[in-house]
Symmetry: D2
Subunit: 283 residues, 4 copies
């Protein structure tokens, strides 16, 4: 093990080249990846409307929560299995891959059945039995940074997964908790280049959770791509004001579409393209 | 539900009087409770030496980790089942109750077999499936505050347990994460009277995790009792410098014994006594 | 200079014994000191009512802001010179010493004329030209910790004053800024014993600024004395609800009087007494 | 005054259009501005070498500290008047404007003589007497965000200056203090679009102080421009490893030159250009 860092398998010292793996035609870690969708799956009409819209833009990754970790036991907790079924059906119809959150070990087999990437939320970043089990899940893992986790702790959480057998880990910066409450969290933009230098794993950014404010998402998304992020995960909704969760931070569909061209332009400056069907994006 | 607070069953509005429940002869929530022991069970000699010493002081609650959540996958992870067996044997020999950490749902039945109070660590405070399952565990739960959790989130985590059927929840302030790194965490001393005013649940404090520095533990323990805490949970070790985890914050046995009399004096000022066998304490 | 710490003159290594200096009959650093009064001097009636009340309790130190650093330029900024005159007159009438805030170098001579202890507020803790000038002021300085200052930075700020010629510095913990907004700041209780071990300077605590909530002040004051603080500085007001600033955190006069006896009891456990006229306290 | 915000003159509600003012041929608030130079002026050779290099790139604004606020009284405190003279001479020789820090009211007349923009450092953001005096200084002010200041407090600090008579204020995000210590501060990238929406004042970003790590500066600079920042202030040094202060975060001269073209490309995506002599940049 490195004498400098407490993590090993996830480090650049262990493996110099970027980790790249293909899902649904996109080479994550080499192409830029765009993951979009609602905070939570609410019903068939909602998820189908959003998915159809995203697919027309060429987006290949659909996010949607079925099991939702909510601060209050009395808040909407997600549609659970039904939500996963709706998500899978919508994704299959439009040729998209599914990203959804896993909250406990006993749901791994179900998530593996319905989703293509299993997301570990910020509250579970240090749920070590879960991380170990995900090392054997056979699916890529999107590992969100804990809301008060240092970069070292985050990489060590990834080390739990990788050392348990699964190298396909996508790190996701989603903002940390600070004294500033004008935004929901404080996005740590410097974490993008710093983690890219420390680790070979892909790093994406969540501007929706990171800011909590819809109108800040385009500017922050541009910043993330400019800083070298391997992609974005963004909450969009056909009716944000009626959303059952996180409506304030969900983009309107048109708002989402409008920001894609400039993101591509910024990506091109690094000679990197977004991994979606280009001809579709241009229609 | 209260219009003022998002939690209900744990609130003072729902239930005015303090929640009090008896374990091993101590009325938690009315008596002050002292929980002491090593960070982790390491071997039979260690746990027996410590337990014997504590029992002679009249201490009735033995803490000890068997399943340890560690930031690195390469750190000592605890003796697991073997640790629980050693802990139970030592406790039984000296008439003590056992407090140990639960990290995942699939270990609840094992913990229930060996421990009297199940501790939820700071990293799992928002592990909602675990909290719900603990609502049905039939044993008291010691719920540590998340390292970056607000008081409201902490009370809502307790609400998950209570609303799932288990009112015997002990809240434990253990320090929050701040910019200050002279101490391991920053103890939120005002949380003690504030939570006591918002909730009927007992609230204790962990000066060991809260400071990370052995020599600060006595002063902070006095502060907690003076502020009205319902008790303390303290790491002690017969050989702190050889401890497999958290040695720097573990008290020497004599250091622990030396601070008990003044804690009792402070408790008396509120007309409250520590719940241990008084005659033993005086030898 | 010490190889371990970046500060020198304020360190325990430089000077082993506690710094003790006498003001108005109280040996600060040996006796416990109680400083009380309104956030700001508002008018003659207010300051006289409060001062008379405090003097009957035996309190020897009157606080009151004349120059107030306010976040908004449109908030009440203090009565300035007029406030200092009112403060001095009230204090003289009742035999008390005056503590008031200094905000800029060009007011030092005025403050020196009217006050006995010059307070440096949290926003000026790193106003180095001011600190250097206060090293030559010839009056004791009460140096509040910056709201996001580490303990090391705080001691280095004191080093600026001491190395400029003034060893009579009282350090004051007043809470740090964290993500928790249930209280105005998060009091760092462990800072009391930690700073006492690192430095020979007296350390007091401000439970009013530290919590921002009147009803938490008694519990936190007890905690501070139990933790070994050399005193307290507390906001009291004859009509908190009409206060021009900080009313929510100001104690009612009776509330203040009620908490004194238990503070004395806690102080006695360390064989230390509060520095006020004992017979008066007992009436 | 607005019922929604506590600030008035700096708000978008008060004045819809961007504040734009010209200095040295650059329209700050409309053009993007690049300010570069060493942390501190150290000697004539250093400042001349750096200034010559920057001028060849077309940079129009030279930064350099003459009065340095240092955490320790024993650290290098700047060359003071001599530093200002060296800075002014170098700037004049190469046609550049000077940005330098003001620490106290009694130095304002001197700074006004030698500098074109007066910088208020993070430690003085709430030094209200200084802010008021700068409202009458007749020079533009670069107001750094306090290291633990909320956006609201920062805008209120600007309100102090503007309401005292000086509308030419440039806001500078320079990172806030958080628990994460992998970087010196945590840059709040979302503050850029958020403050631009709340206020008409120009907003720039300091990636050097914000990260504390040289190699992160290019990525973060790109992010800032992509997010809509009105410019950057960057520390560069001809010999960073020998720098008397902040060497770790100072760019090598070539490193600085290398990142300019891509910053310009990103700026162009918004139809905004950097305000420097373009032909020079291309040599």
């Amino acid at each position: 093990m490195s004498t400098r860092q407490p993590y090993q398998l996830v480090s650049r010292e262990w493996k110099t080249e970027d980790t790249v793996f293909e899902i649904n035609g996109v080479h994550i870690g080499r192409d830029r990846v765009m993951i979009a969708g609602p905070c939570a799956v609410e019903n068939q009409e909602q998820i189908c409307t959003i998915t159809e819209f995203l697919s027309k833009l060429g987006i290949r990754f659909l996010r949607g929560g079925a099991y939702k970790p909510r601060t209050s036991p009395y808040s909407f907790q997600g549609l659970k299995t039904e939500g996963l079924i709706l998500l899978r059906e919508a994704a299959d119809k439009y040729g998209m891959a599914v990203v959804s959150e896993i909250m406990s070990e006993d749901k791994i087999s179900e998530l593996v059945e319905y989703a293509d990437i299993l997301q570990v939320g910020t509250r579970n970043m240090q749920n070590y039995p879960l991380l170990r089990a995900l090392g054997k899940a056979g699916k890529p893992i999107l590992l969100k940074r804990g809301m008060s986790s240092t970069i070292e702790e985050w990489l060590l959480a990834a080390e739990y997964i990788v050392s348990s057998g699964n190298e396909r880990v996508i790190l996701c910066e989603r903002g940390i908790r600070t004294f500033e409450n004008a935004t929901r969290n404080t996005l740590d933009i410097a974490a993008i280049p710093l983690v890219k230098s420390l680790s070979h794993l892909p790093v994406i950014l969540d501007p929706s959770q990171g800011t909590g404010i819809r109108d800040l998402v385009p500017a922050v998304s541009k910043a993330a791509i400019a800083a070298g992020a391997d992609g974005l995960i963004i909450e969009v909704h056909n009716q944000p004001k009626e959303a059952l969760s996180d409506g304030d931070q969900s983009l309107y569909l048109d708002q989402f579409a409008d920001m894609l061209p400039v993101l591509e332009e910024i990506a091109k400056l690094d000679n990197r393209r977004f991994g979606y069907t280009r001809e579709k994006v241009r229609i």
